[in-house]
């Protein structure tokens, strides 16, 4: 089904809430508040926010009145960053993550084009930011965001 994990999905939703909160100068929200806002279980929210903070997408503040806030402006957080933070490198098959992942590496006929497909998908996810996701990018449309189609071209013709 070519899917991202539920945790990653939740992470996207949580970050979208932080982006919205930031606009209203209520930048710091703790895990409990976020759990209430999203109707997700607190332990799950807490776990995800911890990871996002580790990866620098959120800033954390301990102690009373603590919580999390966005680590970067929404325009500088790409969807690819979020996915990578929560589930590692974006790669459709193990072999494209690097050498040594596949016994067929030596004889595989389709590895090169596969790496290209992979790259095209990664680029698609790099090109949309959290700001666009919540519909507040000055460069992108209000909504729905329109993503241009992808072309496969001969390198000789490219750019």
């Amino acid at each position: 089904m070519l899917r991202i994990s539920k945790l990653t999905d939740y992470g996207l939703v949580l970050l979208a809430h932080y982006a919205a909160a930031e606009e209203q100068s209520e930048a710091v929200k703790n895990a409990r508040e976020m759990a209430e806002a999203t109707l997700l279980p607190y332990p799950v929210v807490s776990k995800i926010l911890k990871t996002l903070a580790q990866e620098g997408l959120l800033l954390s503040r301990r102690g009373s009145k603590g919580g999390y806030s966005l680590g970067l402006p929404p325009k500088e957080i790409r969807v690819s960053d979020i996915i990578e933070a929560l589930e590692g490198p974006i790669t459709l098959m193990a072999c494209t993550a690097g050498p040594g992942h596949c016994e067929q590496e030596a004889t595989c006929q389709i590895r090169d084009p596969w790496i290209q497909i992979n790259g095209a998908i990664r680029e698609t996810l790099e090109r949309i930011t959290l700001a666009e996701l919540v519909g507040n990018s000055p460069t992108a449309s209000s909504r729905p965001t329109q993503i241009k189609q992808v072309a496969i071209e001969n390198p000789r013709d490219a750019h």
Copy 2:
């Protein structure tokens, strides 16, 4: 990690072999031959080929001297068709597969853009065919295949 399943990966490799075999007018190959050629276990190969035949990507022929051959010319088999045949609709999250998959559907802030991202990825996979995968498309380069980058645009500016 945003990955496709191993079975789908195998399916791609198997179809690539069929595409190569077709060029040499050895169109029909049975599951045992394919297992040997790919070094994959026979039962696994058999299972995958059955599914691909069900979905019309392969033609099957029973009995002695039977086997499988491509159901369509390699140029008409898209990578997206292969993935969909083996693991269902291409969709990063359940909610984009249709209504009723997510309890947050009513309140979700990011569903629309997400559907667009999804579409962009699907299009990327629709645009590359089996012929290009094995490096024999007349329209695509020899190798490596180059896939143009994706742009997110305002619908007003589009097309």
